[in-house]
């Protein structure tokens, strides 16, 4: 965070990070509003022009909480040929993939059909985004892999879209957002988990989205910083819901990735769940194990925005409580809170843990050899 973007030579990263890395959270954007049209039925072009994308919040343009800079992106990430940050493959190669030696880059498109109120439109846009990812990104650069976006409020459509992509090597995960109409453990989302388990892909849950619920259990907060810090609270709640509803009992081979919501809260959430479960297990007899055990076995975490305590032993202890085998390095390119690979991990980490953190865990989880 607080990237010093003025004086950074373009090649500085390659000096300090020599080994290949995986970047498990990259956000591709469209260069123009109509870039998706070739992948969308004609009826939706007219629909979008008349009614726009109506989400579970009031804004027709832009997010309800204005970002700290345009598109929440680095000020140096505007592509020279024009278009928003993250919309140019060649500039992404030059600014991210080449200098940081990214061997695997996982694309997570955020502005898709997810979170729209019209489920037919949501499904059409998600499917178009999936085709667009292949056409514009993954077919052009083999380092990049896509996430299948789905209209998750409509389980039937979502499951069909997931099965349609079964076996397609362009895709390495199914992508959901953390804030939906209901907590993610609820049954309306089970078709997504069933289909993902069936085709053998992990489900990533990226912070963000609007599901119509106030962003805190006391109503709507005032500031962007509250939304940003609050992603970790929303994610904790989503994960607690997944565990307590028994999703991992029902789908024992399901793997999930918590993306861009921090990981420092994970140990405490596990302890709290376990302690409360000791008292209240009679209410959730479908759980056969301690809640923290489901988390340990089924959940991976992307690192950005990396927690950075004043003392590095506090960071290392926190990671040990989670497991060095569970963290996936991510930059969040092109967003402003980009984590520089050479700076996130303080000295004092073994070579094996360092390799797992930057590359090994991601290759294993996403099945990349």
């Amino acid at each position: 965070m607080n990237i010093q973007f003025r004086d950074r030579p373009e090649s500085s990263a390659s000096v300090s990070v020599k080994s290949a890395i995986a970047d498990c959270d990259i956000h591709p954007a469209r260069a123009t509003a109509t870039e998706l049209y070739p992948f969308l039925e004609k009826r939706w072009h007219a629909h979008l022009e008349a009614y726009g994308k109506q989400a579970y919040h009031g804004m027709m343009e832009g997010p309800p909480y204005p970002k700290a800079q345009p598109n929440a992106s680095r000020r140096d990430a505007w592509p020279p040929e024009g278009g928003p940050q993250g919309s140019s493959l060649s500039f992404m190669q030059k600014q991210l993939l080449d200098p940081y030696n990214v061997a695997l880059g996982v694309l997570n498109p955020l502005a898709s059909g997810q979170g729209l109120r019209n489920q037919d439109l949501a499904g059409a846009i998600c499917s178009a985004i999936n085709d667009w990812q292949i056409e514009k990104w993954t077919s052009k650069d083999k380092r990049l892999k896509s996430s299948i976006v789905v209209a998750n409020e409509d389980g039937i459509s979502a499951a069909a879209e997931i099965r349609k992509r079964a076996g397609d090597p362009n895709f390495v995960q199914v992508l959901l957002l953390s804030r939906n109409v209901e907590p993610l453990g609820q049954r309306r989302y089970w078709p997504v988990y069933e289909a993902a388990q069936e085709i053998g892909l992990p489900v990533g849950v990226h912070a963000f989205g609007f599901g119509g619920n106030p962003l805190t259990p006391s109503g709507w907060p005032s500031f962007y910083i509250e939304e940003m810090v609050g992603h970790s609270q929303c994610q904790q709640t989503a994960l607690a819901s997944l565990v307590l509803e028994g999703v991992f009992e029902r789908y024992p081979n399901l793997k999930m990735v918590m993306i861009e919501a921090g990981f420092g809260w994970a140990p405490s959430l596990g302890w709290r769940l376990d302690k409360t479960f000791e008292r209240l297990h009679s209410e959730v007899p479908h759980l056969k194990r301690k809640p923290s055990e489901y988390i340990r076995d089924h959940i991976w975490w992307t690192t950005q925005p990396m927690e950075d305590p004043e003392r590095r032993d506090h960071l290392f202890e926190t990671i040990e409580w989670i497991g060095w085998d569970r963290l996936l390095f991510a930059t969040d390119y092109p967003h402003w809170d980009f984590d520089e690979p050479s700076r996130v991990l303080p000295p004092g980490v073994s070579d094996a843990n360092r390799e797992a953190f930057y590359l090994g865990n991601a290759k294993k989880l996403y099945g990349i050899s």
């Binding site: 109503g219 005032s222 962007y224 910083i225 769940l273």
Partner: protein, 361 residues
Amino acid sequence: MTSPIAGGVDCDLHPAVPHLTSLLPYMNDYWRDQVTTRGMTDLVSQSYPTNSPISSRPDWRPAQGKPGADLADMRKQALDRFAVAYGICNPLYGVQMVFSEDMQDAFCRALNDWLAKEWLDKDERLRGSIVIPTQSVEKSVAEIERCAKDSRFVQVLMLVMGDMPLGKRAYWPIYAAAERLGLTIGVHAGSAYHNPPTSIGWGSYHIEDYVAQATAFQTQLTSLIVEGVFARHPNLKMVMLESGFTWLPAYLWRLHKFWRGIRMETPWVDRAPLEIVRSNIRFSLQPVDAPPDPATLNRLFDHMQSDELLLFSTDYPHWQFDGDEVLPEGISPDLVSKIMIDNPLKTYGRLKQTVTQEATP
């Protein structure tokens, strides 16, 4: 086992209102009539269903009636057992759930008068929290001023899940009144259920609501800090009650990082969030949401980087510990004395005052 020491302060006791009808003597004719002719039922909150295992330790559950409703039981099971000098009563009766601010106001007044008469008058160790009708800030301030004349009221009590985030400026007259009158603001677990009990909607289970309380405390701390409550009221102390605390270090790492990144949005925040928490925010001890091994717990205390944050509590009659194991294993005698005596006395300025009652509240 870590032994408690005598002369401590139990900062979170829950005397139970036996039934809404128990408050009738403290209501005026109009509200007495409303309650009876409309057939209103008891105000038990989903946050603490009477028979839920967490709502009462099995050996503290009375043969009949609500746990925590009997002073003799509270003396035997908590006040005498842990030899405290003071016990702070935080009634969790569900008055916050009603939607009419007039009704809420009438019920809060009755509840506060009931607490003074039926509990504080009967045991001189007991102190009280003023329950306020937060839907009306004006009525809340009036109720604080009315009750504060009785120096046995040491705190104002709010729920962690209410109508608006607690930092919102509309609430600030409440904080001004508390600071002026030397009262802390206690924020207790529980919801008014005027919003869904999690930030992503309604879950299915009681256990889910209970676990989610910790996240509600986190969003409230963010709101209080970034709205600037402590820039305006630097002497105001707030106590997070039944909040858990093992989430605090990682939460602060994240808040601190974002504050450094986008502090231009809230330029009135005059100190780092970490510093604000250390000077203005305290946490009750129970529930200890840590694993049972002392080594991990001591690492967590180190992550908290302060031994002044925790205040002793039993959370009576809720079931947070068994036997006499109110203090977690492995903490030092020095920390025990800070948690039980020094920290609460520094937090609750009114505890050291001589008891004065200008007027019967």
